[in-house]
């Protein structure tokens, strides 16, 4: 099985059906079984393309191949399956870019954790060189807020990547967009604050305690593992984040006046 996988991967690479990506300083090399999906992915993730180099390999299997049964972490999404080991991942049953996008998010959520990072349902806007992270479930107003942001300042309108580097927390752009099709920028900025989005007839920013912040963040984290140790790691990470980054409840009006309410 492994030999056949390796041969398959080599073939894909020789034919040029591989894609090197860097998302939040995490490097992936996706090896495609056919040209069609490779072309779609190259288009979708073009802002995150990286030069070839050491990267975590992801092999997409076509329908004839079965994925190996052993995995440290696995996940299913609408007929597509992700099997992840420490050294590589296999995606099977991926027939379109949506399935690829979903499995990539799940994989990223898994590989980020040991690197002190996670994905959050949040829009991120850069103001004055610092990242303002606006979190909430679907319908909370992430896309609305992104559409009200000055042009070129949106890192993502849907899924933000937060990561602790030495003592500082940074927000990274991701290629995972929602309704507002930003250019999904592969840049990052130091986090100024995290804001829980609550639509209101007024604008008001209220500071949150670290405990409230962790409770507010948890349901908005993209986290798919059922592993106790991984859950502990996530809790530790969120507790550290909540203690070092200011978090707020942000009651906001759906117009450009909301920017004036934010702390400097």
């Amino acid at each position: 099985m492994r030999d056949s996988l390796a041969a398959h991967a080599t073939l894909g690479r020789e034919l040029g059906w591989s894609l090197d990506l860097s998302i939040g300083s995490t490097r992936f090399q996706i090896l495609f079984p056919d040209e069609g999906l490779h072309r779609l992915a190259a288009e979708r993730y073009r802002a995150f393309e990286a030069a070839e180099g050491p990267a975590f390999p992801i092999r997409l299997l076509d329908a004839r191949e079965a994925a190996s049964a052993s995995a440290d972490f696995s996940f299913k999404w609408q007929g597509a399956t992700l099997r992840c080991r420490r050294e590589d991942a296999v995606f099977s049953g991926v027939r379109n870019e949506y399935a690829l996008d979903s499995l990539l998010r799940v994989l990223l959520s898994w590989t980020l954790l040991p690197q002190k990072g996670f994905l959050l349902h949040a829009a991120t806007i850069v103001r004055g060189g610092r990242a303002f992270v606006f979190t909430g479930p679907s319908g909370a107003g992430k896309s609305t807020l992104a559409s009200l942001a000055p042009e070129g300042t949106v890192l993502t309108d849907e899924i933000s990547l937060l990561r602790q580097e030495s003592a500082e927390w940074s927000a990274f752009g991701t290629p995972f967009w929602g309704e507002f099709h930003a250019d999904g920028k592969s840049v990052h900025a130091k986090v100024a604050g995290i804001f829980q989005l609550l639509q209101a007839p007024h604008n008001r920013v209220l500071p949150m305690s670290p405990a409230d912040a962790v409770r507010m963040l948890l349901p908005n984290v993209l986290f798919f593992s059922k592993d106790t140790e991984a859950s502990r790691r996530l809790l530790d990470l969120l507790a550290r984040l909540a203690q070092s980054v200011p978090c707020y409840r942000f009651e906001f009006r759906r117009d450009a006046s909301l920017w004036e309410a934010l702390p400097a």
Binding site: P210, V214, L218, S225, K226, T228, R232, A239, A242
Partner: protein
């Protein structure tokens, strides 16, 4: 003579939990569910190590929060019942090491 030993409870080992500002945040990884405990609940939670009896926990609670021992015992027992029904705690020595929270949906 009633010789029945009191039930000892311990936190379910499959849970991930952390105390932040004196309040316990608990995750059941199998169900991807978050549970929260207030200050007194978290105080009790910390003592659920399989060694303290409900009466001992209630006595410590009564001393810490200056409530009557009757109230403390009643509150402790009702909390234990609730935690047990959610399988957040297990009887110590019974099914030890078993994953108590259903793992798959």
């Amino acid at each position: 003579m009633n010789a029945v030993a009191p039930t000892l409870w311990q936190r379910n080992p499959v849970l991930a939990w952390r105390e932040i500002d004196g309040e316990a945040v608990i995750i059941s990884p199998g169900e991807s569910v978050m549970h929260e405990l207030n200050g007194t609940g978290s105080f009790v939670w910390e003592l659920l190590d399989g060694r303290h009896t409900p009466a001992q926990i209630a006595a410590l609670l009564s001393a810490e929060y200056e409530v009557s021992s009757e109230t403390a015992l009643r509150d402790t027992e009702s909390l234990l019942q609730e935690l047990a029904s959610l399988r957040l705690i297990l009887q110590a020595g019974v099914n030890a090491g078993l994953a108590g929270v259903p793992a798959d949906r």
